[in-house]
Symmetry: C2
Subunit: 418 residues, 2 copies
Amino acid sequence: MALKDEALMLGKKAKEAARGLGQLSSEQKNRALRRMAELLETRGEKILGENARDLEQARQAGLSEALLDRIALNPKRLQGIATGLREIALLPDPVREIVKMWRRPNGLQVGRMRIPLGVILIIYEARPNVTADAAALCLKSGNAVILRGGSEAHLSSRAIGAVLGEALAEVGIPGEAVQVVESKDRGLVHELLQLEDYIDLVIPRGGEELIRAVSANSRVPVVKHYKGVCHVYVDNDASPEMAAKICMNAKVQRPAVCNAMETLLVHEKIAPAFLPSMIAQLRAAGVEIRGCERTRALATGVAPATEKDWTTEYLDLILSVRVVKDMDAAIDHIERYGSQHTETIVTSNYEKARAFVDRVQSSAVLVNASTRFNDGGELGLGAEIGISTSKIHAFGPMGLEELTTTKFVVFGDGQIRE
Amino acid sequence: MALKDEALMLGKKAKEAARGLGQLSSEQKNRALRRMAELLETRGEKILGENARDLEQARQAGLSEALLDRIALNPKRLQGIATGLREIALLPDPVREIVKMWRRPNGLQVGRMRIPLGVILIIYEARPNVTADAAALCLKSGNAVILRGGSEAHLSSRAIGAVLGEALAEVGIPGEAVQVVESKDRGLVHELLQLEDYIDLVIPRGGEELIRAVSANSRVPVVKHYKGVCHVYVDNDASPEMAAKICMNAKVQRPAVCNAMETLLVHEKIAPAFLPSMIAQLRAAGVEIRGCERTRALATGVAPATEKDWTTEYLDLILSVRVVKDMDAAIDHIERYGSQHTETIVTSNYEKARAFVDRVQSSAVLVNASTRFNDGGELGLGAEIGISTSKIHAFGPMGLEELTTTKFVVFGDGQIRE
């Protein structure tokens, strides 16, 4: 079959399945999710066997250890996936929730009711766990999903997909609600991205390159997650102890993720007292420091930061540090070099805390807390399907609610327009 | 200057202006809006003079009377625009509203705060009033706007734009907050649509052809408003009097708009008693009726409806009518042929009212009220910048809130992730 027809068939099946998904009861969806979790456990050996074949092929292809680790499943990881599905079953169902209701002078009662988006296409790289997580979030929010994972984890994803399909069938939900793309052909993705009449949203999960490629080729709206150049600004009115604790956590706890701190901005009045010990502590934890001139004058072992450093998402134990005149200069720096992802101010000053929160236009703006909290689970969304760094449809972590839209519902008594 | 550079300059200026707009006080924005209204009144003669020149050129170019009417301004219409601006000044300011706030187990207080989208591009056809309306809604919601109106109303739009710019300057808001595109070159629009790093959202206002062209060429997210094939379903448990009143209003009050009824679906049990007089009443009001076989058996003067009729947005005094077996058949018809715009059920049955509202996935679903209420003003949004028929970002009428997004704000006491 031509790729175009194959894509169209996937899109049509998904759209047809989507018609009924918005009407499923919460209990039916939750039963499917719990059954998926059970089957992942009981079919664990089969899935791990397929995963071993993926890993073997990846090794032969000479993939890096880091990539192999992303592909790899083991009993503990599989258990983690099953636990994740059970947690999604416990989350409140967003579908058909009335989020607001009001009355018009003519007596009409008007409300906004959440409904599923319809069909969602997820394009992801080598993590087979995404197959289950993303499918579960889409199902719970009443959406049909087309999953297209990285070819390196192809067999693992297929094995997981088979289990998900079996669970759906058992509880009477059409299997087309979750379609795992079998083809390894990249051209198929391109064809899927043209189907604006069948697919409502594309969520690419992976590196910036993947997301730019999807965005450039898609007629379907795309949730973009570009980089996280996250800042901590330590104000002169900050508690140095709290600032140090937050900076260490933001940089060191998990440096390879998008909400880790990449640039530290320090008010010039606190810099002499704060930076030397802060830098020593960071360096002791293995962090390479690149600083502005004033930073370098305050601490040893600091390489000069270039203009490029300010815009770089290191995703590594590297930190750029800049001494700034005041909060205004910090905000200017963030606006100029940042990526609107996550910014923290550390301060005990009420007015500055308020002003920072008002003025910084990033997806998460925090006072006296680690940047690492910009995460769907940590913010209380329950789970996340991705993070949006563009402002359309969703900004920041996307949970179940962000996989829905609202329709207007209107209850009248025969009203007409005059 | 090359078109590409011209577009880039517009985008850069808008983005720069947008930086400060989210921080303006409501009072400053409202003063600008009221001053715009005053200036539209005091400069009325100048604007009407330019409009007369537009009309003269349009007449020479042989444009239709309908199009001339869309271009035409007069003192009353100008007054209407000014009144609209004053009404927008009276609406609540959505910017920096905290829409929700909750507490996490670790003590973090997490909320969602509305912020402007950034830069909005409005592409519209020949209505010069859009220049003022759209600019006002974007300003009130803290967005910079680039306005590109139809070349037929070019001079009128420019004159209105000059007045808006003057009002902005008087209250100290950068004039780049509202840019009216001077060039008549269509290539410039194409270049603007490539500026995904400068423009956050495009709203095309006009016919389906314009919207499809924008959507096909844009890298910037587009709010799509395709057609409104709106249905009224008259249930067997409907009051025939109420149903007739609603149908007349939905079809006849203003047939050329997107929320007018295009197809009437009637339960087979009520059809013999209801349809003959309903059709007679519609025909007396000048409506041409195209019906299914069963409709034609019940009333005279009904042309046969073809498959194409069911999907057609007439925007005229034409109505297609179909007798259906029951509500399920009505919903099937709506899902198959409709455009997810506006659907009404007329019924006195509680269960059916609830089921219709739950099951129909259109941007507005009404019980016992005219389809004509699917309008930002009528639903209580205050004003509307457009209607979205796609589900991403907004679905249905878009008011001020739909010109914003939310960021997460987090207030902590030194929390870090374990």
